[in-house]
Amino acid sequence: MRVLVVEDDTDIREQLIDTMKGEGYIVDAAAEGSQGLYFALEYPIDIAIVDLGLPEVSGLEIIRKLRDAGKDYPVIILTARTRWQNRVEGLEAGADDYVDKPFHHEELLARMRALLRRTGRWSQAEFSCGPIRLNTSEQRVLVNDEEISLTAYEYKVIEHLMMHAGEVISKTDLTESMYDDESDRDSNVIEVFIRRLRMKLDPDGTINPIETLRGRGYRFTLTRNS
């Protein structure tokens, strides 16, 4: 799950990054509006937390532009300007919820989970596709109720694929879901992770959970159990 944090105050931004990473999110953080807007438009973001009072490009402008560009991921406004006029303007610009400063991190996380559930990106903390079960809060994967040992990167790849079960995911999207903006990226390693995951999830080659689509990317073939 990739979260964008746009906040100009260094302390708050660092605290948010810590909290989000602690929850297993990939975090893209921006201190300025223009950088935030770039991330919002260019990265495969799942949810964004945007401060309204930003230098240069305002939070409102970021929200308007990302919505104009057709991005439909949930956006939470984080603001010290707690007048209703500001809140309504933010919600009208395309935000889905607001959190006033100062805020409890637990409350922000709860609102994020609610929004992710609401938008179908994250229906619940634990779900299954066929015999494969994913627990996002514990970051565990079980096949036929037996836990599979995965590295952090392997977990991120399978989480992203299962979250978007049935969808075609490009190598680039998969790479970006694995790394935050400060990491060195190497899309060739994706093939390695996919091969390892196939070995661990389907050692007998009976269920074929990950399909390779030549020149387009990968698709998780099992549908989500209701």
């Binding site: 919600l91 889905d96 919820d97 409890h104």
Partner: protein
């Protein structure tokens, strides 16, 4: 006297009245004086001419027959030919007081060159004694009644008199008196008064007409100005825009400058408070987060308390700033619909309905920003506590707009719910930042002269009733 029109009318009337009184007095005096002088010189000339016709024979004054025709012409010319008391002449012996000659006799007798001695005298005589040695003229003031009635006349009358003393030795000294009734002068006086009255009447009519014209040219721009001010007050326009005469255009500029300055100042004030809120809340957020990490509940609760105080005081500062501003009428419905859309988004997971029973005519004198704050706080509370429905209804009572915000939640606590309207009392101490909403809303509403009541809704939940001036 309060209207400009009545002031203008009365001042013009006063000027006309005083002006005509002054001018009339001068005109009257000059006219009367000239008439008197003319009569005096006319009598003086006639007296001297008459002396030329008179002869003294056998102790009597007679007209020489040779000058009979000239004398007749003289009498006609000087209007002595009429048998009346209006103009006459006589000669009186100073010692005996006897009238030895007079002009009042039948005209035919004069034509025959004789006097009718038995004719009654029908003229007034005067108690005068002109010394013969003084060869001059004395004109009496016609206002003084100097005469006495010899014949039966209707009361005493004023005369203009010419008198001349002379002597015929050895008969003694005589005086010639020419007199003319002042009736003509009285007539002239009456004419003057009538003319002055006419002048006054015509002037008054002219003043009335000029009032109508000046009303159109002078009062019309002022009325237009007043209309524009009313429109600004009702929110139909922002500034005074029409063209006005020079005197009013300065007022227009001043009013527009005042409105702009006030708007700018208000915006700057709000921006400054927003910046202050931002700069205070950012470190509080850091503190809050650190307290959470270190699981320090004391710091966490103190941060919340500080946040409440900052939020309340900053919002209150904006409320206090309302004094002296022009508050325009604002429609309530658009604000409520914007809030409805936003709140439905925020509470998307909750299955409930927001009903807005407010039409476009529901307006009140509150700025949009404040309206958003009041309705935002109150509707948000209703959305938070409701089960299935939030209903907002507007009704009008005279010049007060009543807005009811109803929900079907648990309602207000039975014990003294009005305490919730005061700062620091929170019905829901678990939710952050919401406790001050009701108190701030109360302050905003009271600042514009309205009030808030806490009641029970028909849905058996809470009803917040707002009384807002229209």
């Amino acid at each position: 006297m309060n209207s400009l029109r009545s002031r203008q009318f009365l001042s013009a009337l006063a000027i006309i009245f005083l002006g005509i009184l002054l001018l009339g007095s001068v005109l009257y005096y000059v006219t009367q004086h000239k008439m008197l002088k003319d009569e005096e010189s006319s009598l003086s000339e006639a007296g001297l001419e008459l002396m030329g016709f008179l002869d003294f024979k056998e102790d009597k004054f007679v007209i020489d027959s040779s000058s009979k025709n000239d004398f007749l012409a003289f009498l006609i010319k000087n209007e002595f030919s009429k048998l009346s008391s209006e103009k006459f002449a006589y000669i009186q012996h100073n010692d005996t007081g006897n009238i030895v000659w007079h002009s009042q006799y039948p005209f035919n007798d004069i034509s025959a060159g004789r006097f009718a001695k038995d004719k009654r005298r029908v003229f007034t005589t005067f108690l005068l004694t002109m010394p013969a040695e003084v060869d001059g003229v004395d004109i009496l003031n016609p206002e003084d009644t100097q005469g006495r009635n010899v014949s039966k006349l209707d009361g005493a009358e004023n005369y203009i008199v010419y008198a001349r003393g002379f002597s015929y030795k050895p008969s003694g000294t005589y005086q010639l008196i020419l007199a003319k009734s002042a009736k003509t002068l009285q007539k002239g006086h009456d004419d003057s008064i009538r003319n002055l009255f006419l002048l006054f009447l015509i002037s008054t009519i002219l003043v009335l007409i000029s009032q109508l014209v000046s009303s159109y040219f002078v009062i019309t721009p002022i009325r237009q100005f007043e209309k524009e001010i009313n429109k600004i007050e009702s929110g139909d326009q922002q500034l005074i825009t029409k063209e006005y005469p020079t005197e009013l255009s300065q007022v227009k500029s001043a009013v527009n400058a005042l409105i702009n300055a006030e708007k700018g100042q208000k915006q700057r004030y709000r921006d400054a408070l927003d910046d202050l809120a931002h700069s205070l809340k950012t470190p509080l957020s850091v503190l809050q987060s650190s307290a959470e990490k270190s699981q320090n509940d004391t710091i966490s609760s103190q941060v919340e308390r500080m946040d409440d105080i900052i939020a309340y005081q900053l919002r209150r500062a904006v409320v206090n700033e309302h004094g002296g501003t022009i508050i325009k009428q604002q429609a309530v419905r658009p604000v409520l619909y914007r809030l409805k859309e936003s709140l439905m988004k925020v509470y998307r997971e909750k299955a409930f309905e927001i009903k807005v029973n407010v039409d476009d005519f529901a307006k009140c004198r509150m700025e949009e920003d404040d309206m958003m704050e009041v309705f935002g706080n109150l509707t948000n509370n209703a959305c938070r506590f409701c089960e299935n429905i939030v209903e907002i209804t507007a009704t009008q009572n005279g010049d007060i707009l009543i807005i009811d915000i109803d929900d079907d939640g648990l309602g207000f606590p039975d014990k003294n719910p009005s305490e919730l309207l005061q700062r620091g009392i929170r019905a829901d101490s678990q939710s952050e930042g919401q406790g001050i909403g009701l108190a701030v809303s109360t302050e905003i509403v009271e600042a514009i002269g309205g009030k808030i009541e806490l009641l029970i809704s028909p849905h058996v939940g809470a009803r917040v009733r707002l009384h807002l001036p229209m």
